[in-house]
Symmetry: D2
Subunit: 336 residues, 4 copies
Amino acid sequence: MTIRIGVIGTGMIGEEHSRRITQNLTGGEIVAVTDVNQDQARAVVERLGLAAKVYEDGQSLIQADDVDAVLVTSWGPTHEEYVLAAIAAGKYVFCEKPLATTAEGCRNIIDAEIEAGRRLVQVGFMRRYDSGYNLMKEAIDADRLGEPLMIHAAHRNPEVPERYVTPMAIHDTLIHELDTFRWLLDDDYKSAQVIFPRKTRHAHSKVEDPQIVLLETVKGVRIDVEVFVNCRYGYDIQCDVVGEEGIARLPEPQSLTFRQAGQLSCEILQDWKKRFNDAFDVELQGFIDGVAAGEVTGPSSWDGYAAAIAGDVCVRAQESGAIEAIEMPERPAFYA
Amino acid sequence: MTIRIGVIGTGMIGEEHSRRITQNLTGGEIVAVTDVNQDQARAVVERLGLAAKVYEDGQSLIQADDVDAVLVTSWGPTHEEYVLAAIAAGKYVFCEKPLATTAEGCRNIIDAEIEAGRRLVQVGFMRRYDSGYNLMKEAIDADRLGEPLMIHAAHRNPEVPERYVTPMAIHDTLIHELDTFRWLLDDDYKSAQVIFPRKTRHAHSKVEDPQIVLLETVKGVRIDVEVFVNCRYGYDIQCDVVGEEGIARLPEPQSLTFRQAGQLSCEILQDWKKRFNDAFDVELQGFIDGVAAGEVTGPSSWDGYAAAIAGDVCVRAQESGAIEAIEMPERPAFYA
Amino acid sequence: MTIRIGVIGTGMIGEEHSRRITQNLTGGEIVAVTDVNQDQARAVVERLGLAAKVYEDGQSLIQADDVDAVLVTSWGPTHEEYVLAAIAAGKYVFCEKPLATTAEGCRNIIDAEIEAGRRLVQVGFMRRYDSGYNLMKEAIDADRLGEPLMIHAAHRNPEVPERYVTPMAIHDTLIHELDTFRWLLDDDYKSAQVIFPRKTRHAHSKVEDPQIVLLETVKGVRIDVEVFVNCRYGYDIQCDVVGEEGIARLPEPQSLTFRQAGQLSCEILQDWKKRFNDAFDVELQGFIDGVAAGEVTGPSSWDGYAAAIAGDVCVRAQESGAIEAIEMPERPAFYA
Amino acid sequence: MTIRIGVIGTGMIGEEHSRRITQNLTGGEIVAVTDVNQDQARAVVERLGLAAKVYEDGQSLIQADDVDAVLVTSWGPTHEEYVLAAIAAGKYVFCEKPLATTAEGCRNIIDAEIEAGRRLVQVGFMRRYDSGYNLMKEAIDADRLGEPLMIHAAHRNPEVPERYVTPMAIHDTLIHELDTFRWLLDDDYKSAQVIFPRKTRHAHSKVEDPQIVLLETVKGVRIDVEVFVNCRYGYDIQCDVVGEEGIARLPEPQSLTFRQAGQLSCEILQDWKKRFNDAFDVELQGFIDGVAAGEVTGPSSWDGYAAAIAGDVCVRAQESGAIEAIEMPERPAFYA
């Protein structure tokens, strides 16, 4: 059985996911696409050689009889509407982060999904599918580190464009850590604080860069994440989990070691897309397999909601400079 | 278009390749299997849920109308016969190493393929598809090291069974390096010498272990490969290419770095199948795509022949203790 | 000219320094020792084969005509008295940290030294003499990292005895980082905050462990130091300086890399004394050479005072949980 | 007791050793110097502020009543004469490598020393005092690797001057490995073979570069050493000892790890003098202490002789291309 997929939003990530499904993965086929820019949607169909119909808008694509599952890769503010429509249509939907731009929007989706009576939504937190993070998860779950006590992490980009402003360090960058650490630790957040070190001269005027985000979990784990989006030297994801019995560090991406020109060196990735390239494959294959099996098991609406709540508090902490409480509503049994 | 594939030999590697094609790769389907042990063939069909017919023997499988391409994963001494039959039937054939157990057998295949007028054969040298070796190949081809002058390499297994005897260090182990280095350097071998260090107490009586194989290429590159198949500590593939301008080292497989119990440590792989797991995927996907495109571009019969010739000389060098010349016939334009 | 040195306090560190001066270093000779435990002082004289007189107390040792310089390695609460006496006697004095147990005590020493009109005091902050930290200092001073923005550090011990209580994480452990980072950055502290992660089960009841200390400097650099004194796995000092142009990490202590028993591993030091063994040599040689040259240039009373002030605020921050301001008095021209 | 030392040969190494003894080490004093260039000898006395008499020649320096021990750091061909004279005068002598330029010359020294009835000579093989090699020696002696089976080593220099010709790869470069591995393994050499890879374009016309030297020991250990003296990238000493139970690798020299400009990198040393800087200190301190104790325990005349014999065979192997036998005479009980 091949899952027939419709893609809403054929920008970079939408095209890339369409390409993966068509060329790398098994069991799925892109049969429908749409974009606010219809020309671009048509161009993607052509570039990838898809046998896909171009729809006028997301709603009509979602309603199409031959669409089994929907990929929402459009502009963030439109996510909520399309996910709700897919749920209403009883269709599985993979939604790129954010699930919605507000916690309230996420809550609406949760309510709709519970109302629908079964999990239909998977949120695009691809790090849960990264081999390195999975080694870390296995080490923690196998109690190789003892109880986790701290995480020291960094999320660094070589540079960001001028439209990237201070809150985006949370909503666009930290959002991945916010989900990943909940999952790694099987825990929830309790408080957040944001510290602004001296600003790098390479940052634009509207972004504080770097930032250090301090998170406290319900179990008492303390997390510090350096977010540094104009670090110049590369795209670099660091994560050390410190436990009672020892520490584990996330692997560096594979590269040759050179001895050359007075240096012992390895190349550092520049392009974030390459860092989680394999993870995207595993993530989407998991979604397709889940749809085929009638049971989607990836990051849920609840996970999207939890990240949104924590993210909102982090932005508040950016503004206040204070330690801000994070209050998660009780988790419905539906998402247990 | 889905390539319909028949598998001859459903032992470990045959089953594993069938699983890959069915579960991981796109564009291919297992429609036919056979094995000297028919029960095992049937068991694999069942385990993997294949819609495949079980044939009585390789010849009838090769002749089957619905088989587009053949995978030869049977016992080594049977490879030549099946590859020749596939060529005779005008069918693409992927043959696990060795292409044939003798250089003469490889030559027969070459003659038949040239006679057939087009490349039908791909040999299972999966390292050419390993991401680490490909980084090395790119570095060499981009002249980042200057002219290569030396390769220092090691091929280590934790242990081997009692049936593994001295010449198998060449035919079953070094064979991969013999192909890989020809490809990495775009070069051919000129001489071989084998040195036997003090034998490890962990080796069985019929195998000299470790061994050091010294190879000289036509361009003058000198290669030393430590083959150590009872090294105890893990499956470990090392490769340093030393060039005029610097040195590059193959990456270690990805793993967490631990600080624990007085040690800063990473785990070393134990299972060779995991080391080249991704490479096997890329290799077989390449074969399927090649068949679909009507042009197989992976390691050729000529590459299988070249490895066989070099391997035979290495075994002679094991016996003589002398520096033995390797003479490659001129490469036919067909394989240019 | 040999500098004749008197040692006040012949406990572990006093004996060790006496041994260094006698066996490893040049230009100094131990001619006088004293300890509250006279038997122990005599035992050290005998063990090291010193030609040294055993004095009844520190004051008489300081007054002795043949003592050119004094080493204060006694119990912390006695440091202030002996340093003041040495200054009054016009003698050079090397004082192990802390210079005094209170900031006020340090201020008394500063006032006395200024009154004396020349620098006589060197404080035992040995990390300034560590080769790794010096490489870091050189990299920063040579502007190889751009302006420093953050420091991520860790100070980990395998375990501590029962008498080690929460404030000692500052006064006995963090004190080294407090001095080192002022020196590395050529900067002063502006605020401190202390965070208590979930406590390790390996800590005694009277110590919060681990702790994370957050420091802000006048220039805006943000520093986080994990202090984890029951980390189990070893004595481990980590320091990453993050600058506008890149990051530098302190070297790990030298050790063999093993491939053994499924692990790629290096040993981690267990004994803190070995970590800064060479630094102690350079430090004390520097003191002796400084005395001989009539100009002591190592960490000054002012540095001891600055560390004491910052340390006091960190302890206050342990208690309050709040971000506490650190106010340094203006630096006298004398210490410019 | 201060050992009064005379230095014969005040070139770079002679001056450097004089500086060490004067500034870094304890228990020794330079009281006499000489050089074929008297002006240079005087210049060194002045630069280092030595209270040393400048002698007209080595022989008169050796005879001087106030000279307790002699350092021979003159031109290689003069070593034998001065060492013999020191033995005849009953004085301890530290001789830089080579002990003599011929094996016969070494034998003469051995005969004289045996005749003298006690060990007076220490040869300047400083690697035995390197901390990294000592970690390796301890690992082997503690049986952490099981029986050693192979050593893979490299000795690389960034470049050499025009006067460096092919045999110097043995006599000036490999000589250190020849001594070090005998000591590490507590073994002797049995055969040698030299392989010439493709020559680097950066080598002068009179030197084959790189070379690979293959050594076999009496116990059957096989050693391969890459000697590459125009490797461009740095001064790099590599040594892997492969044993029955695992492998140990020599540490890289300490340096910062940078993340900068797309690279994760460490600096590689360029200057060989820095590589073994600490080892030179320990070596000479050991000599001084040995003289003071009346028992010199460092590398002996026999070790110098063994290295010379092996070196001569390696040069013969360079010329013949064959596997050449190394025959060591029986070791006199005197050197047991």
